[in-house]
């Protein structure tokens, strides 16, 4: 009987060791959260070193309301090394706490690295490691990537957070950066073999300016687009959504104010057709929104609204066609996803051309049809 009791107690004691859990737990204060990573080509002449990796470590209290006085909110730490994983491990020799990449918000890549080496090799770690998320933002920096992390926004103490918030804002509100801005989206598009755009950021003294796109082909940077051009790209894609604006240029003389139209919604339909063994695309864009500014050019009337709509149609159409022409002639880069449309709707033809789609795209005939609707004109009738 006593032996039986002893056995029971032993079993219970052994079993408790299984339910303690948290074998792998690391307390949150013990971790250093890496919020941003900047990758550059190293300046040193050491042949072995391929990357110059700057990590931004945020002081955990700086994320909350009460930062500890006397501590800097962020610490930027640079290391050069042959592979990124080695960089991460090398950093451990300088940072006292284990670093954690699970909340990595943003990866900044310097222009030089993106242009010469391409970014796919360097992103391997970010795809492979289980800590990384697909939502991490991926941004090209004109110039040195680490300079963008060195900026000090007067209101947001952590520069990585600042750039990350800015991206979110820019993609939704201004339409000046492309919609492919995360590691996951990059990976999907890159794997499908398409050319794509990534957002680009310019360092301006103590802040940054995010507008425009970097054209990526097979993971390499091949050219830049301005913010206005990216806007036109998003017209073609139909992703140019609320908040953004278009100014129409119906000025009769220099001093006359131009009208501005605020976009509230947009949709695009791309029709594909094969004619004489050449692809033809017809882009149908439906835009709707408000009149934002008109410069008091006279009373609003049905006729005037119609006239403005026509002018907008013409302007959007001409600008977009001009931009498409530029992409066809200068870069042969199909960042619009016309190739994907062919794959979906004209698969037989696509199988033949996908090997040299760049040339086929350059010769494709593209038509635009824009239909703008001005729904409201605001509080005044003038």
């Amino acid at each position: 009987m006593t032996g039986n009791k002893f056995l029971k107690v032993t079993v219970v004691i052994i079993l408790t060791s299984f339910i303690t859990g948290c074998w792998d737990s690391v307390e949150i204060q013990q971790r250093t959260m890496i919020l941003s990573v900047a990758l550059d080509k190293p300046e040193s002449n050491n042949e072995e070193d391929r990357y110059d990796m700057t990590i931004q470590i945020a002081e955990p209290n700086a994320l909350t309301e009460k930062p500890i006085p006397g501590t800097e909110p962020v610490w930027n730490l640079s290391t050069t090394c042959p592979s990124l994983f080695q960089c991460v491990r090398d950093n451990a020799t300088e940072v006292a706490r284990p670093s954690y990449y699970g909340h990595l918000q943003i990866i900044l890549i310097g222009e030089e690295l993106a242009m010469e080496e391409g970014i796919v090799d360097s992103l391997d770690l970010f795809f492979r490691d289980h800590e990384m998320r697909r939502r991490t933002k991926l941004i090209i920096v004109k110039g040195k990537a680490k300079d963008a992390l060195e900026t000090k926004h007067p209101l947001i103490p952590i520069s990585g957070q600042y750039i990350s918030d800015l991206t979110q804002e820019a993609v939704n509100k201004t339409a000046l950066i492309p919609i492919t801005f995360t590691v996951g989206q990059f990976s999907s598009e890159h794997e499908s073999g398409a050319d794509l755009l990534l957002p680009i950021v310019y360092v301006r003294g103590n802040h940054v300016d995010m507008s425009g796109g970097a054209i990526m082909r097979e993971g390499k940077l091949i050219g830049f687009l301005t913010g206005e051009e990216v806007k036109l790209l998003r017209v073609v894609e139909g992703t140019f959504k609320k908040g953004a604006h278009i100014s129409s240029s119906d000025k009769k003389n220099e001093n006359e104010p131009s009208s501005t139209f605020e976009v509230k919604g947009m949709r695009s339909i791309i029709h594909t057709r094969i004619k004489n063994d050449k692809p033809e695309f017809k882009v149908e864009v439906l835009v709707e929104g408000h009149l934002a500014e008109d410069g008091f050019k006279g009373l609003i009337s049905e006729k005037k609204i119609k006239k403005m709509e026509n002018e907008l149609n013409k302007k959007i159409k001409n600008d977009t066609l001009e931009f498409i022409k530029k992409m066809q002639d200068e870069y042969q880069a199909d960042v619009f996803g016309f190739g994907e449309k062919l794959r979906r709707h004209e698969y037989k033809y696509w199988k033949n051309v996908k090997g040299n789609w760049e040339e086929a795209f350059a010769e494709a005939k593209i038509e635009m049809e824009v239909n703008t609707s001005i729904r409201r004109y605001g509080r005044i009738k003038k």
């Binding site: 998320r133 999907s188 794997e191 698969y347």
Partner: protein, 363 residues
């Protein structure tokens, strides 16, 4: 063999659903997209129909023998010795399958949740729990599935619906762009994910009322088919078919895409793991039960309890044996081919033998 506990038809259906939806749920879109590209969903629907057909064959065959288990009616059909061979095949298949499922789930758990826990400890955790349940017989297992499975399928669907924002369903076009050949090639790989209904060979005697078994079971298999189709279409819509091919766990990548607005911490893949571990545990439990049931039936034992405890170390050793993830998937693939033979081939063969013997008036 004495039968002590019974299950209802609905419980049987839930049990079959739980055993079919298993570890593959995280990874199957990859191999399917590799073969069939964007047409994987067609393959899944065809495979669902094949599974339905096979399970009907098994049930009808059982019906001819008063819903006995294959262990009992096998000798009448194929003779004693061939029946023993079939049973041994089943036992080996069940045991290897269980070991691989346990290993795969332990590996994934280690990768995503328990980074520094030795894989053996995770294996032990899952196996001890499963064996505990197996020892208690089919009714507790069925109740376990019944209480767990609907909930986790619901949570999984809710989590996956959050990805709809990023989904572009046009990515699933064109339909049959490369013809039917790639779809046909993908079917064996999809059938892996449908394995499990072969347990019907042995579970029929436990049924309380045998009337509506076909109807309720088809509901179960249709649910599984729709569920798989949904995940397949969603992964391609969100990730694109080329990306799905290179990912080890496309379904987790899908969840990693989710962004919950306004939160700093947005790691839904832990919910995913929370959902997925029960999926694999239910599979393990039922296969382990199947193995112990067969072994005890073969050895003419009264019940399976002792056998299931004896199988425990064998499964554990088989699970720790492979050296890396690639070996595991190699063995898993080979086992699954054996499983396809036993689940889709065997019913056909048994039916033809039955037909022949009936024709020759031997039965």
């Amino acid at each position: 063999m004495m039968i002590k506990d019974k299950i209802t038809t609905a419980q049987l259906a839930v049990t079959i659903v739980s055993v079919m939806v298993g570890v593959g749920i995280l990874s199957y879109p990859g191999p399917v997209a590799e073969e069939a590209g964007v047409d994987g969903w067609i393959g899944i629907i065809i495979s669902g129909i094949i599974s339905l057909f096979s399970s009907f064959l098994i049930i009808s065959l059982g019906k001819k023998f008063q819903y006995q288990s294959l262990v009992d009616y096998g000798p009448k059909l194929v003779g004693r010795y061939i029946n023993i061979i079939i049973m041994v095949c089943f036992i080996l298949y069940f045991l290897t399958f269980v070991s691989m499922v346990v290993r795969i789930s332990a590996d994934a758990t280690k990768m995503f949740l328990l980074d520094q826990t030795p894989v053996e400890v995770i294996l032990l955790g899952i196996l001890i729990m499963s064996t505990y349940l197996v020892v208690h017989g089919i009714n507790p297992i069925a109740r376990f599935n019944e209480s767990l499975q609907p909930g986790i399928i619901f949570i999984l669907i809710v989590v996956l619906l959050l990805t709809l924002k990023d989904a572009d369903f046009g990515r699933n076009l064109p339909v049959l762009g490369d013809g039917v050949v790639p779809v046909m090639k993908s079917i064996p790989k999809i059938l892996f994910s449908f394995l499990g209904f072969e347990l019907l060979f042995f579970l029929l005697p436990f049924l309380m009322d045998k009337g509506k078994v076909k109807r309720i079971l088809s509901v179960g298999i249709i649910v599984v088919t729709l569920f798989y189709t949904f995940i397949m279409v969603l992964s391609i819509s969100v990730l694109g078919h080329k990306e799905v091919v290179i990912l080890e766990y496309p379904t987790i990548a899908l969840v990693k895409n989710i962004e919950v607005p306004g939160t700093f911490i947005e790691r839904l893949e832990s919910i995913m793991m929370f959902v997925w571990i029960p999926f694999s545990v239910t599979t393990v439990v039922i296969f382990l039960y199947g193995a112990s049931l067969l072994t005890s039936g073969l050895l003419k034992l009264e019940e399976h309890r002792t056998v299931s405890l004896l199988l425990f170390p064998i499964v554990f050793l088989m699970a720790v044996l492979p050296e890396n993830v690639l070996q595991v998937s190699y063995i898993a693939e080979k086992t699954s081919y054996a499983g396809i033979g036993l689940s889709f081939g065997l019913p056909l063969i048994l039916w033809s033998i039955y037909g022949l013997k009936k024709g020759m008036k031997l039965l």
